[in-house]
Each structure stands twice: as C-alpha cells, then as structure tokens.
C-alpha cells in the first residue's frame, strides 16, 4: 500500500478544559463597548472555613483538587508549601496566616492565580459560581475589604497585593 500518508490532527478534549477559565473571553468582555459604559467585575466566590471570600476572576487560571505539598519549617509563615503544577513549582499562600483569620477549615481544592508573569495557589474549601459586580461598589486598597452581596458578608481579596509578595520571592517566573 502507499507509504505516504496525510496526517490529521484531532484536538483531544480533556476534562481539565471545563475548569480552565477562558481568559480571552474576559479580555473581550473588558474591551467590549458595553463594559466601558457599565464596568463590571466578574468575581469568584470561595469559602475557607466559615469565611466567604471573593477574588477578581481575571486572575484565576484553574481550580484543581488539592495536591501533595512540599513543606519546610523555614518558609515564611504565610507560605504553607509548594506544589507541582504543569511541570513547574508554585507556592501555596496560606490566607489565614496572611490575613490573621482564625478559622478551622478542611481544604479540598486549590485555586491557581496567574497574572501573566507569576502563579500561586490558595487552598480553599470550595468555590461557588462566579457573579458580576459593578465597580461603583466601594473596594478599598487593603488586602481584604469587606463587601455585602445578597445579604452575605464577603471579604474581597486583593490578589494584586499577593502577587507583589510572590514577586519578592524571585520565584521562577511563569
């Protein structure tokens, strides 16, 4: 039979794709004329222990089940360990140590945040569906400001501030 063949590439659809947030759609959203009139933030709510948090979903890369951590006593207290993700090693930020939250939590999943240069993870109990929020609502410049959304108290996490901290660790850049 003929030896030459034409190769066909079929894109495999993996389960992970369901979790991956589509950053391009976020960009489109921000750039569309609608957003310029009525600026909205898409927030990802998650829960650690009995505290509710929200974070800007444009930094969220993926939510994965918890992974085994490398731990070291000499690490800063707010770094609970390191995990391997996509062949590189990422730090896991311990929010309770960072923000002095007193809490008992059972973490089941890890949210990986990505700002294009660096990545880090936060271990959380679970995440809820993202929702949109008008930026007219007051969000202050501290690590966490409190918000009241649908009669529920949330802490709005300032992810950019955590990225500043991560940057200082001179981690292998993403």
């Amino acid at each position: 039979m003929a030896v030459r063949k034409i190769k066909y590439y079929k894109r495999k659809f993996s389960d992970n794709d369901f979790f991956k947030s589509d950053s391009s759609s976020n960009k489109n959203f921000e750039q569309s004329h609608l957003s310029s009139i009525n600026r909205k933030l898409i927030l990802l709510p998650f829960k650690i222990g009995n505290i509710n948090f929200v974070a800007n979903s444009k930094f969220v890369e993926i939510v994965i089940p918890n992974r085994e951590k490398y731990t070291n006593k000499d690490f800063p207290k707010w770094i609970s360990g390191l995990i391997a993700y996509e062949g590189s090693i990422l730090p896991i930020v311990d929010l309770q140590q960072l923000g002095n939250f007193q809490n008992n939590s059972e973490n089941f999943c890890t949210i990986i945040f990505n700002d294009g240069d660096f990545r880090f993870g936060i271990e959380v109990d679970f995440v809820r569906f993202p929702f949109a929020l008008n930026t007219s609502s007051k969000i202050d410049g501290s690590l966490h400001g409190s918000l009241k959304i649908q009669q529920r108290d949330y802490y709005f996490l300032n992810i950019e501030m955590i990225f500043e901290l991560i940057r200082e660790l001179e981690f292998e850049q993403y």
Binding site: V3, I6, D74, A84, G87
Partner: protein, 692 residues
C-alpha cells in the same frame, strides 16, 4: 448495522479498491502508460463519488468530481500531464488511502472537519483541469507522442524511484535502529532487499549517483556480514546518515529530484568513498580519534523537512560541533574517553593473566587427582605436594598483584567517567551568568561612547542555557544591547522626569522547555514596527534559529523585548527519597551504594552518618521499618545519609532555585517527580555543612 454505517463501509471498500488499482498500475508501469493508468481508475473513482454522495459528504464528492474530470480529459488525451500533476493526483489518492484507516464515525467527522485539506487538494486538481491547459480535440492524430510523453515517462520513473526509496528507507532505518538499540548484528536480508529495490529503481530512472550510494551501502553491509564484524557507532552513524540522505531525496517533488541529487552529489561521493574505504582497509574498522574528528567536518546532519545544507551546520553524534569553541570541549571529552580505553587495556591483560592462572590451578587439580590414585607411593606424594605448595604461593602472589592493579584501574576509570559526565553537563549547558559576564562594563563603555548614562541589571544568572544557543546569544545580546543604548536611551539632559541614569534590565528564565530572555529599558520608546525594521537582521537571526521575538514598546513608556527559544534540558539521573512526606533527590553521580540501616550498622561501624531529619530540623519519628541508608562518596570518605523511605530512580529536569528554596542551604535545584515537588540535594554543600 445501520444504513449510514453500511454506506461508510462501502465508501471504505471503494477507496481501498481504488488505491489498490493505482498502486498496481504504478508498480507495473512498463505495462501501462499514464493515460491508461488513469483510465483504469475512472471506474473506481466513480464508485467513490457515488458512495460519497450517498453519505451526502460534499467534500469527498468534490474531490471525486474533479478527479473524474481530470481522468476523463486525460483519457481523451486532451491534457498534458507533468510529473508535478502526477504528484497532485497521487496526493488525492493518498487522501483516500488515509480515509480507510479510520473507523466509520471518525470518517464522517473527518470528512466534515478537514475541509481545508480537502479544499487544497481540490484546488490543485482543478488547476490541472484548468481551461487553459485543456487541448482542443484535434481531428487528426498525426503527431506521435514524443517530447511530452518522454517527460511523462521520466516523471513516472522518478516517481517510482521515490516510492522505492520511501518504501526502503523505513525498513533500513528500523533494522539499523533495532541493531543499535539491542546491540545485535545487523539483519542483512531486509536491508539488502531494500537497497536492491532502490538500486533497481535508480537504474530505471537513470540516477547513477543514488545507485552508487545504495551499492556502496549494500557492499559494506554484506562485507560486515561475511566477516562477522560487529558494527561500531561511527559506522552506524554513517549508515544512518546515508539513509537520511535518501530520505532527503525522497522528500522533494519529481521535478526537483534530479537537481536535489546533483546538490547532494558531493555528499553522496564522500559517503560512498567512506563506506568503500572500510572494505579496502580493515584497520579503519576501528576508527582512530583523528578519523572521528575529520569526519566531523564531512558528516552533515540531514533533516528530511528542511534544507539544512544551506546553512552549513555540522553535527556529530547528535552534538553540534560547528563552533570552534565546542571543539576544545569535545576534544577534552574525547581525551577522557581515550584514557578510559587505555585503562581498560591493562585490565584486559590482567584478565589474560588470570586465564593462565586458571590453567595453573587446573594443573594442581590434576596433580591432586594423581595423588589420590598414587596414594601408596609416599615419596612421589611429598614431591607433588611441595611442588603444588610452591605453585599455589605463586598464584596467590600473582592474584594479589592483579587485584591491586585492577582496583587502581577501576578507581581511575570511575574518576574519568565522572569527568566525562561533568564535561557533558557543561558541554550541553552553560550558565546565563557565564554568558553575560562583563556585560556591565560593556554597557558602561557603550554608554560613554554615546554620551549617555546607563545601569544594567542582570537577573537569572543561574539559568542554564543549552550550548546550542550559546554562540547565537554571544553574537546577539551585545548587538541588542548596543542598539538599545544607542537608539532607545535618551541623553541625560533629555530624560525629563526620569532619573538621569537610564535603567536596562536583562533577565533570563525558563518556562516549560523554553528559554525566555527579556530586555527592558526605560528609554524613550517608539513604534514597535520601527524597532522591528531597525533590527531586522538580528530578528531574522533569531527567527532562523527557531526563536521568537515579541516587541512591546510605546512612545514615552520604554521598550520590552522578549526573545524565546526552545531549549534542550539537562536531565539529571537521581535517586528519590522521602523525608517526612517531602521528596528529596540525590544525583546518581554522588551515590556510592544504597543499603538498609541494619547492614550499615553491621558493616560500617566507623562510617559517619547524617540523619536527614536532624539536618532538616524535623522531629524524629518512630518508623518501624529499616530505614534506607545512602552512602555518598566525597574525597574517598564514605558518608551515609539516612532517609525515611526510598521512592525510586528518576531522570529529573532541574529548575533553578529561588529565594524560597534557598532557605535550605543544601538544596541545589527543584524539580517535579510524579506530580510532586522534589528538591535536588547538593551533596557537596551538605557534606561541607556537616563537616563544619
């Protein structure tokens, strides 16, 4: 079976039949002419068309339609078919051939989704049947088929030659690789069969050069088989290169094939000369180091998909050695290898001596038997016994001397192997810090020259760069730096609100197999396109070496150049251990032996041991099992490292360390093993820490 499935099966069947018909026609070309060949396929293509219509897969119908048109025109001799056109037709044929390899549902999906390829094929076919190429039917057929027909037949013969090569090359490659991997003798029969096919096709296509090379290869392999000589890596390389040469020839179209062979003629001559030289001079079966180095300049690395010949890159055993710089490193490695071999020779001698010792012992055994038989004669007995005692003494002294020399040689070889390993590590990668040494002074000099003030910040000095990129970056980075200082940075008096001293940062990092170099300045910034235009030559250099440049610049906001290259990583063979559910790896190079705690206590009473839990400041925990103990060697002192659990052996890709990891002093790098982070231990540092 559903209706659709039946139809698909029918389509597959028709495709298969169609392919078979074309295949047989090609093989028995002497019987057919191109028009007859196409006439044969008319029926089968019509069947494909009908079956595709039943499935309402318009794409497949499109191709079949055009094919039918071409065929009918060719049948009526209203088309001049060039070798190129035959290529296109064969490609369409290949498409059908590839279809039948998929399952029923995949076919439907494929036909609907791959319309780009289908469209391409259709367009090509349509260009054959374009109106300007169709001849009008001539009432009189006085002119016999002459020039065009000859061209056609030549094209088909070349096409056949290509098929022969394509068919044979893979078998040759398979056999060669098999024998290389399994260290077996080469299987002669399939190779010579394959070479004969190439030779036959080359004769009929009139390509004498290719025939020569195939002939030389055949002679050489037969020679090896007849004399039962094992093939050495150098010869294997040569044969593989010949094979690649054939591949390169087969990768061109029928029209260009003769030119291609002409281009390659020098290489073909060299190869066949080389192969034949082995036949005449048997001493050369063992290549001398000088022969190896000489061959460096001759053997090119061919890849079938691109014309590597043009840029004169030379490779040997997979390592690029075109750069003068690398030759010295290469020579050093070669020296170390020769040293090993020279160390092996005395060992072989002592093995020979041991053989003579063995015969002596045999002699003593025989004597002993004699003693048993002549047990009555006591005088003879004592004589034999004293003789034997003398001989045994001799043997023992000889054995002693041999074992000490053998030990010495083995130690020597061990250290040499370490040299080679380290040499290879340094040979294949260079630290970015080494590359950019002296760049601060360079930047200052350039700035002084241009009456500007600049401070250069370099980060990522620890990042290791594959040596294939070293020379390129050595040329590239100073030029880019010069461009930035001269064109992007403003003189101090024009830097309005910005600090007087301009800041340029040069950083390197690695990301999933890529090396990324960023050069950021706080200069005036300008349009990205104008920068691209100015540094066009440099950017072309990057692009030609499979790199990528991203320019990020806007007026008044500085410039960011991001250059990325694919990089070959350094693999580090290591043993992986667990301590308090964290993974640590020790490079195999440093490991002496892996034993358990009990054996360690029994055999090495006075050896020093380091409990990793203590070093890592982790509380001791009762683990019932025998802990694994790794003996590491440093300055001929064995020191034992005690871990919790041995996990396994792994080839790790070291990633550079950072501030977080450097809290543990002896961690040299981090890596990933089984989706878990693993820290690679720098044994030297650990031992130094312990000694102090």
């Amino acid at each position: 079976m559903s209706n659709i499935e039946q139809n698909i099966e029918y389509l597959k069947e028709t495709c298969r039949r169609h392919c078979d018909i074309i295949e047989t026609c090609l093989l028995d070309y002497e019987k057919y002419r191109i028009s007859e060949l196409l006439a044969n396929t008319a029926n089968s293509i019509n069947q494909i068309r009908l079956s595709a219509k039943k499935l309402s897969v318009n794409n497949a119908v499109l191709i079949a339609d055009v094919m039918l048109k071409v065929i009918s025109l060719a049948k009526e001799k209203r088309l001049d078919l060039f070798p190129n056109d035959i290529d296109v037709i064969l490609r369409a044929n290949d498409f059908y051939y590839s279809i039948i390899q998929f399952s029923a549902y995949e076919i439907l999906e494929l036909l609907n989704s791959e319309f780009a390829i289908i469209n391409e094929i259709t367009a090509d076919l349509q260009s054959i049947a374009a109106p300007h190429r169709i001849k009008k039917v001539q009432p009189t057929k006085t002119k016999p088929e002459t020039a065009t027909d000859e061209l056609q037949s030549k094209g088909i013969l070349l096409e056949k030659f290509k098929y022969a090569i394509a068919r044979s090359v893979s078998t040759i490659e398979q056999v060669l690789e098999q024998s290389e991997n399994q260290k077996e003798a080469i299987d002669v029969v399939p190779i010579s069969q394959a070479l004969n096919t190439i030779k036959g096709a080359a004769i009929s296509a009139g390509v004498s050069k290719a025939f020569d090379l195939a002939d030389a290869m055949g002679d050489f392999i037969r020679f090896l088989a007849e004399h039962n000589v094992p093939i050495n890596p150098y010869q294997m390389d040569l044969l593989l290169n010949c094979n690649r040469l054939f591949k390169g020839i087969a990768a061109t179209s029928a029209i260009a094939i003769i030119d291609k062979i002409k281009d390659y003629s020098d290489y073909i001559d060299t190869y066949s000369d080389f192969l034949r030289s082995f036949l005449t001079e048997q001493e050369q079966l063992k290549p001398t180091p000088s022969a190896k180095l000489a061959s460096d300049e001759i053997i090119p690395f061919l890849s079938s998909d691109s014309d590597v010949f043009s840029d004169n890159k030379l490779y040997y055993f997979g390592y690029k050695s075109s750069q003068l710089n690398d030759y010295s490193k290469y020579n050093r490695l070669l020296d170390a290898t020769i040293n090993i071999i020279s160390n092996l020779a005395p060992i072989a001698n002592s093995i020979n001596n041991l053989k003579s010792l063995k015969s002596l012992i045999r002699q003593i055994q025989l004597d002993n038997n004699n003693i048993l038989y002549n047990i009555t004669n006591t005088e003879a007995l004592t004589e034999i016994a004293t003789n034997n005692a003398k001989k045994l003494d001799e043997i023992i002294s000889q054995l002693d001397s041999h074992s000490t020399t053998a030990d010495e040689y083995l130690q020597n070889i061990k250290s040499r192997i370490n040299t080679i390993y380290n040499g290879l590590y340094n040979f294949r990668s260079v630290a970015f810090g080494d590359l950019v040494r002296g760049y601060n002074e360079l930047a200052n000099d350039l700035a002084n020259y241009a009456n500007k003030k600049v401070s250069l910040k370099i980060s990522g000095r620890f990042v290791r760069i594959g040596s294939e990129l070293y020379t390129l970056l050595e040329i590239l980075l100073p030029q880019l730096l010069r461009d930035i200082i001269i064109h992007n940075i403003e003189p101090p008096n024009l830097r309005n609100e910005k600090p007087e001293i301009a800041e340029i940062s040069l950083s390197a990092r690695t990301l999933s197999g890529k090396l990324i170099i960023e050069i950021i300045d706080d200069g005036k910034g300008e349009n990205a396109s104008s920068i691209a235009l100015r540094s066009e030559g440099l950017f072309n250099l990057i692009n030609n070496n499979n790199g990528r440049v991203d320019i990020n610049s806007e007026p008044n906001s500085g410039t960011k150049l991001t250059i990325s290259f694919n990089m070959n990583y350094v693999l580090l063979k290591s043993l992986v251990f667990e301590v308090a559910s964290n993974l640590y790896a020790v490079p195999l190079l440093n490991c002496e032996a892996l034993i358990d705690e009990k054996t360690f206590c029994k055999q090495f009473h006075d050896a020093k041991s380091i409990d990793m839990r203590e070093v890592l400041n982790i509380e001791a925990e009762y683990i019932s099992k025998n802990k694994p103990v790794l003996l590491v060697n440093d300055f001929n002192i064995n020191i034992a490292l005690i871990f919790d659990k041995f996990v396994g052996e792994a080839e790790l890709v070291p990633a550079p360390t950072n501030k977080l990891l450097s809290v543990t002093q002896f961690v040299a790098a981090s890596s990933v093993y089984n989706n878990k982070p693993v820290m690679i231990i720098d044994v030297q540092k650990l031992l130094n820490m312990f000694m102090n």
